[in-house]
Symmetry: C2
């Protein structure tokens, strides 16, 4: 199922420019912006087989396939999206989009600010999950998609799927909300704030305008990513994979790498700090913190979800402690209270939060079964 | 029980200088060193009523009482140590000591290196739990204490109590190992490494020799402490105390403090970064990482604990996820397998790892009951 023969093959990204101003939740207005996206499969005649994939904190529009045969890695959800895969590109027309504020081609802090010709930097406005969904809806219009067969996302992507269901009730038939939460806990916000402080206090951050200084706040971004990784993996999973293994078999009594887990985290941090934009990281964590659809309904999540007309699949993973199964059950409980059709799966996995990106067989089977029904309903 | 009338009152610290070289686990030798300590209560005629309190990562020798009437805060365990309190200074002679490598008066990285007259800085050797226990044993000799009625510690302090029981089996009658673990997990080490990397990569750390530059690696130490605090509190406890409360009642769409939890963490980080030594923080986390008595016995903890002759009290707290109850049960299981006398208490608390410093009534009652028996055995 993950062999290359079932890949969508070579892909290319596309670009959509929007000139109708977008008023953001913050009150700021983006006069114009571009979204970079990719599509796989073919939109059917009545445009009923379209699926939107919403990405999480460090994700992007490159969901499946490769840009060149020589690409080492395929898109980030290539294991789930492709011909014959659970999100079957022989049946569905699949859209991946880089969110506004991103750093993979859509308008964001590292893009040129049309007013200055220089990178936006600190002048780029903070965006919310709702802002992303509004921007995505305009892309749907552009693609001729009136109603998604499904909007699917894990983690922060799941929040977008949930937001879609209430903001555009008539434009989503199924919302798949995976390893997500209806709002962050104090602990979630706390981890985000430590990550942000690492970046904000990096002397090379320059208040967000590091581009002009020809430097990158690598130290801060590296720490943020190292910390993030701890929350993506489960305690047990990390124990099984790394345990207390030493690189050289003995204590060195110094501060260089000693344990394998240190080596792994530092490597992940280094890699990330070279390729990800610090301002995008900051605004993504803020979008996470801000998401709280119940807030406008005096904390009543069922009331917040009342407008939805979609059918829901909510899925969680047993070892996920970033957004534990209990957080998914909050969503399920509110959906049931609001009279919605919802399926809930709590999937046994040692992969922690990252499980939503993995191929634990019960997860793949669940997605395959659910999406088969979605396809049948869509006549695909 | 926590009113000031039951305080040990005004205290002063004392200092013990040792000139017999101490060979550390790393192979380094400390030619001479000083330990700063405090005592409360009176040593009885046969020196059978002495209790050693071992401190955790950011603790020290100032366990109880005040240095001056005007001191705002008392010693860090003043709620547990004093006349009529569970560790009753009317019955016990209680000793608190700042560990080697500390930053509260004992010889450590910020002390003057006798070879240079300048702070040790990066030249100070890494120390282990076993090194601390050896140094503490010399202090016991100096104080005329052949055998402790009890060695007590929470977290990293509990590791010292465990180490005492196997390194000096005839010198410990009771070991109280609270909210501790027989070794760190990969996740524990991972959190420590992020904290260390924050300090080590702070441009003002200067490889550990920041003293000479007249600066402090405040940014790194602040991040380390913020992160630490998240692991000291429980998810639920943090939720109850801070939730998603906003300082100003609305989103500001910027990176200044918005949520109360951010304000709390940043305040804790700021306060800590002004008063704690970065090198001490680093070496304390390494002592945590290195502790693993089972390692020398092919991973068999029961074999490692076999030499112990003490009786044990192991206690954990339900909401502690830094060293969860499961970690304490590992210790208990091994002690039972090794044929030791051990009592185990899993205490209901919302205070997370920090509960060992708090006064949840079941915890206080447990300590009181257990130590009453210790006192009776000691004829105190």
């Amino acid at each position: 199922m993950t062999d290359s023969s079932s890949s969508v093959g070579l892909v290319r990204d596309e670009r959509a420019a929007f000139v109708t101003p977008l008023t953001l939740c913050s009150g700021s207005v983006l006069a114009a912006y571009e979204l970079v996206f990719e599509t796989y499969g073919t939109l059917n005649a009545d445009a009923s087989n379209a699926i939107l994939i919403c990405h999480a904190l460090s994700g992007h529009h490159h969901v499946a396939g490769r840009y060149a045969e020589t690409d080492k890695a395929a898109g980030w959800w290539d294991n789930m999206v492709g011909p014959g895969k659970p999100i079957d590109t022989d049946r569905f027309f699949v859209v991946g989009v880089n969110n506004l504020g991103g750093c993979h081609g859509s308008t964001g802090p590292s893009s040129a600010n049309p007013d200055t010709g220089q990178p936006w930097g600190s002048a780029f406005p903070l965006v919310t999950v709702a802002d992303w969904v509004c921007a995505q809806a305009r892309l749907a219009d552009r693609l001729g998609i009136e109603c998604w067969a499904a909007v699917i996302g894990g983690s922060l992507g799941g929040m977008q799927a949930l937001e879609w269901s209430v903001r555009y009730p008539d434009r989503v038939r199924h919302a798949l909300v995976i390893a997500s939460a209806p709002k962050l806990s104090a602990q979630n916000i706390a981890f985000n704030d430590v990550a942000r402080q690492a970046i904000l206090t990096d002397p090379e951050f320059h208040g967000g305008d590091f581009y002009a200084h020809g430097v990158l706040p690598r130290r801060g971004l590296r720490l943020a990513r190292m910390l993030g990784h701890i929350t993506y993996l489960s305690d047990d999973g990390m124990g099984e994979k790394f345990g207390r293994m030493l690189r050289s078999g003995e204590y060195k009594f110094g501060y260089d790498v000693e344990f394998e887990i240190e080596s792994y985290l530092r490597y992940q941090g280094d890699k990330f700090s070279d390729r990800f934009d610090a301002n995008t990281y900051l605004l993504m964590t803020k979008a996470l913190d801000y998401f709280d659809p119940a807030a406008a309904h005096a904390g009543d999540l069922a009331a917040a979800l009342a407008p939805a007309r979609a059918e829901f699949l909510v899925a969680s993973f047993t070892s996920d402690w970033r957004f534990s199964p209990a957080r998914s059950r909050e969503t399920v409980k509110a959906l049931i209270a609001a009279g919605k059709r919802v399926s809930y799966a709590e999937i046994e996995s040692a992969h922690g939060h990252d499980a939503f990106l993995m191929t634990d067989p019960p997860y793949v089977a669940l997605m395959r079964a659910y999406l088969d029904r979605v396809a049948q309903e869509a006549g695909a």
